[in-house]
Symmetry: C2
Subunit: 430 residues, 2 copies
Amino acid sequence: MSTRTDETHDPQLHSWLASANAPETDFPIQNLPFGRFRRDPAAPLRIGTAIGDQVLDLEQAGLIATQDMAQLMQAPPGERAALRWVISRTLRAGSSAQTRLRQALLPQSAVHMALPCEIGDYTDFYAGIHHARAVGALLRPETPLLPNYKWLPIGYHGRASSIDASPSRVRRPWGQRRGPDADAPPGFKPSARVDYELELGWFVARGNARGEPIPMAEAESHLFGVVLFNDWSARDIQGWEAQPLGPFLGKSFASTVSPWIVTLEALAPFRLPALRPQGDPQPLPYLDSPANRAAGAFDVQLEVVLQTAAMRAAGHPGDRLSASNASDSYWTAAQLLAHHASNGCNLRAGDLLGTGTLSGPRPEQGGSLLELSQGGQRRLKLSNGEERSFLEDGDCVLLRGHCVRPGFRRIGLGTCVGTIEAAVPPTAAG
Amino acid sequence: MSTRTDETHDPQLHSWLASANAPETDFPIQNLPFGRFRRDPAAPLRIGTAIGDQVLDLEQAGLIATQDMAQLMQAPPGERAALRWVISRTLRAGSSAQTRLRQALLPQSAVHMALPCEIGDYTDFYAGIHHARAVGALLRPETPLLPNYKWLPIGYHGRASSIDASPSRVRRPWGQRRGPDADAPPGFKPSARVDYELELGWFVARGNARGEPIPMAEAESHLFGVVLFNDWSARDIQGWEAQPLGPFLGKSFASTVSPWIVTLEALAPFRLPALRPQGDPQPLPYLDSPANRAAGAFDVQLEVVLQTAAMRAAGHPGDRLSASNASDSYWTAAQLLAHHASNGCNLRAGDLLGTGTLSGPRPEQGGSLLELSQGGQRRLKLSNGEERSFLEDGDCVLLRGHCVRPGFRRIGLGTCVGTIEAAVPPTAAG
């Protein structure tokens, strides 16, 4: 597991790029995430790293020789660590590469970020136990958690085609919803319950052949890194369609990732034990390893900000709706991956594993409006006097994540932003 | 909708290739399906059409200029029809192209078939009402069909990476299954309830932009054609994991398609009205069109054959386990596609839509062993004295499909074949 820190994590490291040394930046020289950008909307995709408020074009800088992120992801862990070390060295204060690299830098505000890689398959898990319990309590007050929850990471296949990179514009979906009573026909209308879900998304680095599971001890070597992930959800569509086979059109209209993959190497200082609460079953052997118990979890602080159209017009930065921590997840990233491959399912470089909504243990830490509004029964009062149970057209949702630990430099995941647009007009909806 | 027949469907048409005129062939000149093959396992993929017992290499024959099936699929329907016409003309008895084309022909027995295209996303539906009712009755005797079933095509996202082309070798998956009683921990073992599912798979021809639904009237112009589809299922894994979010590892270990896509144009003579039983609700407007009512269904006869290892050793061709017809599906292919895009979900060329298990109305027409064995409660007696509730190692499952109609030439979908292999040994399963 990538839990060993090295000189690339040294908090004393500074970059010759001033903005990388600003205390509030998500992208100091200790981070070095990977992403894909275009210099203009029609230009080809290029691989870069975020450093301060700039993007370093890695090929132009002479640091990589490919624009194929899947190829870069599949490099053996040793090669990945070596690349990180080289990038770190060239960006350090005093590096002789400084003059040469200046021309490979572009302001982040001037480039167009794309999906960090082609996503072959996307799987969404349900690893946030506080979310599972809160949502379960709305549907089944007597048994919020089903008997399987603490034995296996519940997951389902998601829709890969409709995932895009932040900033995203998300059109309110049409869909069927339950009629007003059991005898009434369902309606087909724009969703009235569009919601966000605060998740992390793990990108698979190396895959496996079909029929060959990945043992827990090797699971993390198959992970590349993490992004913020908004699993937009239409609760009324989901509520009518999802039995017996699970969520479908209530989810597949859109999902959004933050554009920078923060690598496992960058996260090494921010690992925590993955311990089960007293009385909970221990993971079965295929989901267990000493390393996972010791440091399988990730200490990533998360928050959700909502900026309504009225706030935007008034220059208001938005209200924080909730804050939570990824380490509250019941299952670790390694367990999600090992479970996924345990039946022989073949994973591929670039596959995305969503964690499921990462709510905190307290009600105000719900990672979705479904939780914060208690299934739409209460309205949240916003600081400008507006109220919300679910998202309105023009609402902009920002997810943020960062890692802090005494003795280490703070790193961030950037932002995952999406704005709700009005539904297609009825005539075009067919 | 592609329901108009033309000269390419003329039953009097004969080919200069004798095997295409054999009465029992699936691939007479009236069929002309598309697939991808390799001349040897390491050779590049090439697009061909099946004709009799041969493959015609379409680029070598000068009939196409690409090896990118997605590009061919996205051609406007008029261009697709024109290509069909040109291929038909060159293969007809008396064609001057005969001598030139001889060298572009390869025996089907000598080539290696691959997936007919890259599958971006795969969705599995539940459109076979007799299957849904029979399986529902096992789980919920009082309400076999849930209230949403007759209002929308139930579907879920499936795993694209583990789909391969027939003939397939399918390794028995390991997985968690429920403990013997409510207090017992679950086990992690090789599945003891591996099953097949008899389905059709529809390939998407042209996609749509995210946020832009596809109206019912245009749905069929977004479909390319159909294959046989075996949605291998591990019932014990599925039974423990699938609540509340649907099937996951019980399905994702493998799915298998027949290698030849039979086009919508080839199916034109075999269309039937899509009528609702008396008393059932009419489809909502976004799932309805006059053309769909008139001829939305496909008259495809389906069958499942099981050949055990002992049968194979004895030269026994196998037992037919069931027969059914695709026109018994409650939802048409156009409805599956229009529903899928109704929330703005973007489909892409090469996406695969599984119909769900296509069982017939009678119990002996179940399209899975789950149905035929009544949830594993009874054992099927095979003609050689063996018995089965679920599949054993070495069992080979063959799906077949064909279309017949008086006044037209019979066409077939080929075969979808897969053999169950023993589970990975315990030490390797981690």
